[in-house]
């Protein structure tokens, strides 16, 4: 792999086995067990995906719900193993599939900062030197000795984000971080993205926010039904995404039209 490539994906396939759990009684369970009749449905989530991401590139991945984006991210992060094909990663990769993974509600904010820091590979001493900045950035000075379960969800996200941006890494994988938080949080996210671009970090961003895609990404990948439909300019990709969303019957929800009749609520 040449030196200026950060991520190289070659012919990756991934499928999941979904067991049919329709065992109604112990008797039938036993019979099925002896007949070896546990039925599986093989769901192919990703089919023959290949692409390259250059070092310092801001790369977007776009697709509708269930198109296989998150599976692809988890494969890149090494959380899943591909059925076939290869994934080469050049450098240190840190995934943020979700903000605040590993947060423990029973621990105080302070304790959670250190635990989360350790998950990013920071020792206690390194975290000591970052602690003040993290708390200040999250604007949670008064709350650090309270248990995390007493935090509002917005406070939790702020704390998690404040830790996450300290990650010292070459390649970042971000899954829908923009989907949470208010406008000021989004602004902080945008500032962070700009900062990443300035530092020439490689970033893989998954989002439904097409404005973020066109604003930050150099290139983007559009996936539909587990296949890569298009790789290239962000403009093409966001057009394809929007078209796919508004031209299919299930997409009524996005246009504000209820597809199913509302359930009637019975009041006693």
């Amino acid at each position: 792999m040449s030196d200026n490539i950060a991520i190289k994906v070659v012919g990756v396939n991934k499928s999941f086995k979904l067991p049919h759990e329709k065992v109604s009684s112990i008797k039938s369970a036993v019979i099925n067990f002896y007949k070896r009749k546990r039925t599986f449905e093989k769901q192919e989530v990703l089919k023959d995906i290949s692409f390259e991401i250059k070092k310092g590139e801001f790369f977007g991945i776009v697709g509708r719900n269930g198109s296989g984006k998150s599976t692809l991210l988890k494969l890149l992060a090494g959380i899943y193993i591909p059925d076939s094909g290869q994934i080469h990663i050049n450098g240190k990769l840190t995934p943020f599939i979700e903000l605040g993974v590993g947060f423990s509600p029973e621990l105080t904010g302070r304790e959670n900062v250190f635990l989360n820091g350790a998950l990013l590979g920071f020792s206690r001493r390194e975290m000591d030197s970052k602690y003040e900045d993290i708390v200040k950035f999250a604007e949670l000075e008064r709350f650090m000795d309270q248990k995390l379960k007493n935090y509002s969800s917005g406070m939790q996200v702020r704390l998690a984000f404040s830790i996450a941006i300290r990650a010292n890494t070459d390649i970042l994988i971000l899954d829908e971080v923009l989907a949470v938080g208010d406008a000021s949080f989004q602004q902080k996210c945008y500032d962070y993205f700009n900062e990443l671009k300035k530092q020439c970090k490689t970033v893989v961003l998954v989002t439904h926010d097409m404005s973020a895609i066109s604003r930050f990404c150099d290139r983007a990948l559009y996936i539909a039904n587990g296949r890569e439909e298009y790789i290239g300019s962000t403009r093409e990709v966001s057009d394809m995404y929007l078209e796919a969303n508004y031209n299919t019957p299930e997409s009524g929800v996005e246009r504000g039209v209820a597809v199913k009749p509302r359930p009637t609520i019975r009041r006693n």
Partner: protein, 266 residues
């Protein structure tokens, strides 16, 4: 090897053990004292019933300490395996969303069991002093025996935690096995109570029985049966050690094979 003890992994292990400690007795008044109180209370009950009422172990000097040591070692084994068993599933959020080496989860939960064991050993030393147990030179063997128990439990923990991801039945099965193991291991009765030598031999094939008897012999009294005397030096006295090695190797291999698919199977 360097890869495994990298700075990142060390930081992570120490933080996970710390979290484990903080969370374990969360909200209890006595807090960490419970990890000493639990085996001690169990000891008091067993002591009253089996030593005072049923007069077990009258032939063995320092029987209370002898009993306590057996309980503490068994409890260590029980705690480590049961905690590890659910640890991969319990830390499912980490497994599914972050790439951390999976073995770190088992290793850190095993370390908190080891720290507990160390605290309990302090209690045993206090009991030994109160009971005027003479310090034996063979006590030097005790750390080696405890290491054997640790490795045995580690192998089983790796295996159990990995298979628990696929079959949750394992949790209940293991509970029953532990219950049976507690009675099939000479913890609360002296081995001499079983008069049939063949049964004695069968019981001592279990690594836990062998380790507990050896630990008592090495640090409390030489007047107890150990595998070496029961087996009279036959080749099968090595079977318990073979079981330990097999459990460790099997556990490691199975865990390594399965750990790739933890994220999708949980």
């Amino acid at each position: 090897m360097i890869r495994y003890i990298s700075k990142e992994n060390k930081a992570l292990i120490s933080e996970l053990v710390r979290t484990d400690f903080k969370l374990r007795y969360q909200g209890s008044v006595l807090g960490y004292a419970w990890s000493l109180l639990r085996p001690l209370l169990l000891f008091v009950i067993l002591y009253i019933v089996f030593v005072k009422f049923l007069k077990l172990g009258a032939s063995i000097p320092h029987y209370p300490v002898y009993l306590l040591l057996g309980i503490v070692i068994w409890n260590f084994f029980l705690e480590m395996t049961t905690q590890s068993l659910g640890s991969i599933v319990g830390r499912g959020d980490l497994v599914r969303k972050i790439r951390i080496p999976r073995w770190i989860i088992i290793f850190s939960s095993s370390l908190s069991a080891v720290i507990n064991l160390m605290l309990n050993m302090v209690v045993i030393i206090i009991f030994m002093i109160l009971n005027h147990v003479d310090l034996l030179v063979t006590t030097l063997w005790l750390p080696v025996i405890l290491l054997e128990v640790y490795l045995f439990a580690l192998g089983l923990s790796l295996f159990l935690s990995a298979i628990f991801v696929k079959f949750r039945d394992v949790g209940y099965i293991w509970e029953v096995i532990l219950q049976a193991g507690f009675y099939l291991t000479p913890i609360l009765y002296p081995l001499t109570l079983i008069s049939n030598v063949t049964f004695q031999k069968i019981i001592l094939l279990n690594p836990m029985a062998q380790a507990i008897q050896d630990a008592r012999w090495s640090s409390i009294t030489h007047e107890t049966l150990i595998p070496h005397t029961v087996f009279q030096g036959g080749w099968y006295m090595y079977i318990p050690f073979a079981i330990v090695i097999a459990s460790l190797a099997g556990g490691l291999l199975y865990f390594r094979k399965e750990s790739k698919y933890f994220a999708e199977n949980i």
